[in-house]
Symmetry: C2
Subunit: 336 residues, 2 copies
């Protein structure tokens, strides 16, 4: 069933059908009605490939996401999409598998579908000029920025929190309660990514308090999932290392840590304080409520959309936005 079939059934030309379908004014009410009736009867739907091909300008923007299953990204995605739709654009969701290069995927997507721009939700912190060479549409990095890369500030846009400061704030929250032996739970110290930044913040805070980082308290999991975090904390406990608090670089890891502590007979916050970063919705319903440095998820999504739209419309150039976090005082910390 093509537009030709509809035209034939209606006894009109394809262009008339096209006009009726696209709501052009110059179609008689009678013909328009007839076309619509036949369309309904035959369940005709225009072929989007043909339509996109002939329309030289699309209103699509690509949303390149590392794993839509990631709860944190999921909570950002909705407000972002809504904002884009409001602005008259069509979000095109594209999930990439771990190991895949988001820039290559994004560039290919943009060219292949003639997109107007891209938003990357989660990606690498160390892009170089050669890597973005193929990217000829504006793009925004959401929840990460080019901290370890070599791009000029006019070559990319980003919306993030200050990850290093967040690590520092989270650790400070524990220090201010008198904790001195604070373990840190992260992916890898030198991953040139979020772990590294938040770890640096942790080190900053300790150093500000005149405390040296104890390698025995640096728990690297090599991953971000709850299972790895859980077992890493079990190891820490099994080693008999002394500590009174844990700073986990994500809420999910923090919850896993709390469970591991619990199973070793340590209660949170009585025997150990735990603080996370993200402010996932679900962590407001846990026991104890997780103390967390909350990211402004809605704003992250909306601002990424806004910046991209402004660039597409030529109203502004690349820029990097840093949004503030809020410490949510939960029930997982107490004075040492």
């Amino acid at each position: 069933m093509t537009i030709k079939d509809i035209a034939a059934r209606c006894g009109v030309s394809v262009s008339t059908v096209s006009r009726a379908l696209n709501g052009h004014p110059d179609v008689s009410a009678q013909v328009r009605e007839q076309v619509m009736r036949v369309v309904r009867e035959t369940h005709y739907v225009p072929n989007s490939s043909a339509r996109d091909l002939v329309r030289q300008d699309s209103d699509g923007v690509g949303l390149v996401v590392r794993g839509v299953g990631n709860q944190f990204f999921a909570e950002i995605l909705s407000p972002m999409e809504e904002r884009l739709i409001e602005a008259g654009f069509t979000p095109v969701l594209h999930q990439i598998r771990s190991g895949e290069d988001e820039l290559k995927a994004g560039a290919a997507l943009a060219k292949s579908k003639r997109l107007k721009g891209l938003i990357f939700l989660g990606g690498c912190f160390n892009y170089g000029p050669d890597q973005i060479e193929g990217l000829d549409v504006p793009f925004v990095c959401c929840t990460y920025t080019n901290s370890f890369g070599s791009l000029r500030r006019d070559q990319y846009s980003s919306v993030t929190i200050d990850d290093r400061q967040a690590g520092r704030d989270a650790t400070d929250a524990l220090l201010s309660l008198g904790h001195r032996r604070i373990a840190v739970l992260l992916d890898e110290v030198g991953d040139s990514s979020i772990s590294e930044l938040r770890y640096l913040g942790y080190a900053d805070a300790l150093s500000g308090a005149g405390i040296e980082v104890d390698p025995a308290l640096v728990c690297q999991t090599g991953a971000f999932d709850m299972d790895s975090a859980y077992w890493r904390v079990r190891e820490l406990l099994a080693a008999g290392t002394d500590f009174t608090a844990i700073f986990a670089i994500s809420d999910a890891m923090a919850l896993a840590a709390i469970r591991a502590l619990y199973e070793s007979g340590r209660r949170v916050p009585e025997d150990c304080s735990v603080v996370g970063i993200d402010g996932l919705t679900a962590t407001q319903y846990t026991i104890p409520i997780l103390t967390s440095l909350v990211q402004p998820k809605k704003e992250l999504g909306e601002q990424a959309a806004d910046i991209l739209v402004e660039m597409i419309q030529g109203r502004a150039g690349n820029r990097q936005v840093v949004l503030p976090t809020t410490l949510r005082r939960g029930e997982s910390v107490r004075a040492c």
Copy 2:
């Protein structure tokens, strides 16, 4: 940058470039290499609309999901996609907003992109023949089936658990521990959907134990989110209603219930037992670990993919598959 530009730069015809690009054998090694070099240099990517338009048969299958943010769906999606890719198909993710008609969206998607089939992840339980009229590709309902509809069994496929039995099993788990005053936490009793089925299972179990359903213990929230569940349980507690256990129709609602109980000074499982359905990964790390009727998420995803592939290849017709659940004995229940 189009295939024409590449052809011009290489001094060959577009058909030669096309052949080189698509790995056809009848291209000289020299020309092929040159084409590939120019493609690399220019970052050329074929326009997918043009390609899809001319290729009369695609290998795409649509994955129509009600909210990718839904953790339960997210855990099913990955194995499903993997399975489809293994079978040589390309998953096309399509998210629909609440209120949107998944059948209409699916039918439009399939026609618009010439897809080979569809998998619906979450949808209505009451399709009628007229509603699937426009759907001319095979489709599989995943995690729900046509319990309240009027389709013949040869008109649709589905992969689910037995939701009514699951409600019964969950309730039975509480009954067998001696609980008699069991509250149920759900969306709506008569929503012709998952709530209704699991509620019926709840009623079955009570009836089997010679207990009448007490309307005061039926907590309808009108939604599936944690916030609604939390407040509904607070209401139940405020009303002073007597109960020793709660059956929540989803894990997320169960967690919210536990929190609400906790804030009213009731401990789980000491003062109240709680059981959920789903078996979300995160509920293994909560305190207490949630007792839940675990859905076989991986199998749900894989079987949905398998059934669809078989139908597409004409190796089998429509069928409905019911997978077994497992009771995960967590820490949120105890004898009354």
